[in-house]
C-alpha cells in the first residue's frame, strides 16, 4: 500500500426532520471487492474499528436472513453489537444494528455500492434510528470511544454547557 495516498473524504448528513444519518465515501475498489470487505468476517474485523480496538467476530452469516454479532475490545473493556442481515445482494446490504448497551435500540442500515467505473465505487450508507433520542445516543456513543487529542477542545466546550 502507498504510504500516503489521497484520502477520499466521508461526507455525512444528519437529517433534521428524520432520525437518519447518511454517509457517502468513494473507494478505489470494485463493488464486488467492497461487498467482500463487508461480508468476509476476517476482512470486516480488520477495518470496522473503532481505532485502537480489536474486533472479535462471535457470530457471522452474511447472507439474506443471516445474523451477526461481534465485540470491540480494548484493555478488558468490551462493547458488543449484533444484528441481522435482512438482505445481502451484489451491490446492496440491508441489515439491523443494535448496541448491546442499548438493547432496546435498533437501527436499520442500508449500504449501497454504486459502481463509478474504472475500479471505483461510491459507498452510500444510511442509518435509520428509531427515534431522535436513539440517534442522539448513537452519535454520542462515538464520543466515549473517540476521546483523542483532537477532540479535547470539544469535550471542554460540552462540559461548559
Amino acid at each position: 500500500m502507498n504510504a500516503t495516498s489521497n484520502r477520499h473524504q466521508v461526507s455525512i448528513e444528519a437529517d433534521p426532520t428524520l432520525p437518519i444519518i447518511r454517509m457517502t465515501r468513494d473507494f478505489d475498489a470494485t463493488p464486488a471487492q467492497l461487498l467482500r470487505a463487508h461480508t468476509d468476517p476476517e476482512l470486516f474485523a480488520r477495518w470496522v474499528g473503532p481505532n485502537g480496538m480489536e474486533t472479535k467476530i462471535l457470530d457471522w452469516d452474511a447472507t439474506t436472513g443471516g445474523r451477526w454479532r461481534y465485540v470491540a475490545a480494548r484493555d478488558g473493556e468490551e462493547y458488543g453489537f449484533h444484528g441481522c442481515f435482512h438482505e445481502v445482494g451484489e451491490d446492496r446490504i440491508v441489515q439491523t444494528f443494535t448496541f448491546d448497551g442499548q438493547p432496546d435500540g435498533v437501527a436499520l442500515e442500508t449500504l449501497w455500492f454504486e459502481d463509478l467505473g474504472d475500479g471505483r465505487t461510491r459507498l452510500h450508507a444510511q442509518s435509520l434510528v428509531d427515534s431522535f433520542e436513539g440517534r442522539d445516543q448513537w452519535l454520542a456513543s462515538g464520543m466515549e470511544t473517540g476521546i483523542d487529542e483532537g477532540y479535547a477542545k470539544l469535550d471542554a466546550l460540552i462540559a461548559e454547557l
Partner: protein, 123 residues
C-alpha cells in the same frame, strides 16, 4: 452530563411544532404571543414548547423586557455541527482502514487470480 444535554436538544427538536418555532426564531426574536399566532393552540401550549426549548438551551427569554421576547441560541447548533463532525471523523478513520484492506485484496487477487471472490471466505 454533556450527553444528557445533547439528548435534550435532539428531543426538543424531534417535535415538528418546536422545529417550526426554531425556524421562526432563526429569522428574529419573537414573543410567545407572536409564536402562538400561526398555530391553532393556546398561548399556554406554546409556553410549554418554549420551556422545552429553553431547558434544552436552544432558546432564551430576556427577563427584564416587558415583552420577554424569545431568542434563538445559535451556538447550540454550532455545537451540534461539531458533534456531527466528530462522528464523521470516526467514519473517516474506519474507511481509511477499509482502504488498506481493499488495497491488500487487490494485491492478493493479482497474485492468485481467484475466479470467484464475491462471497465471503469459506469456513
Amino acid at each position: 452530563m454533556a450527553v444528557d444535554r445533547l439528548s435534550r436538544v435532539f428531543a426538543a427538536l424531534a417535535d415538528p411544532t418546536r422545529r417550526d418555532m426554531v425556524a421562526r426564531l432563526a429569522v428574529g426574536d419573537a414573543t410567545v404571543g407572536e409564536l402562538a399566532d400561526p398555530y391553532d393552540v393556546s398561548v399556554q401550549a406554546v409556553s410549554k414548547h418554549i420551556k422545552v426549548l429553553t431547558d434544552a438551551g436552544l432558546v432564551s427569554q430576556s427577563k427584564d423586557a416587558q415583552r420577554r421576547p424569545c431568542h434563538l441560541e445559535a451556538e447550540v447548533f454550532d455545537l451540534m455541527t461539531k458533534w456531527i463532525e466528530r462522528y464523521r471523523q470516526q467514519a473517516q478513520q474506519r474507511y481509511d482502514r477499509l482502504d488498506a484492506v481493499l488495497a491488500e485484496m487487490r494485491g492478493d487477487e493479482q497474485s492468485t487470480k481467484h475466479p470467484n471472490l464475491e462471497q465471503g471466505a469459506a469456513s
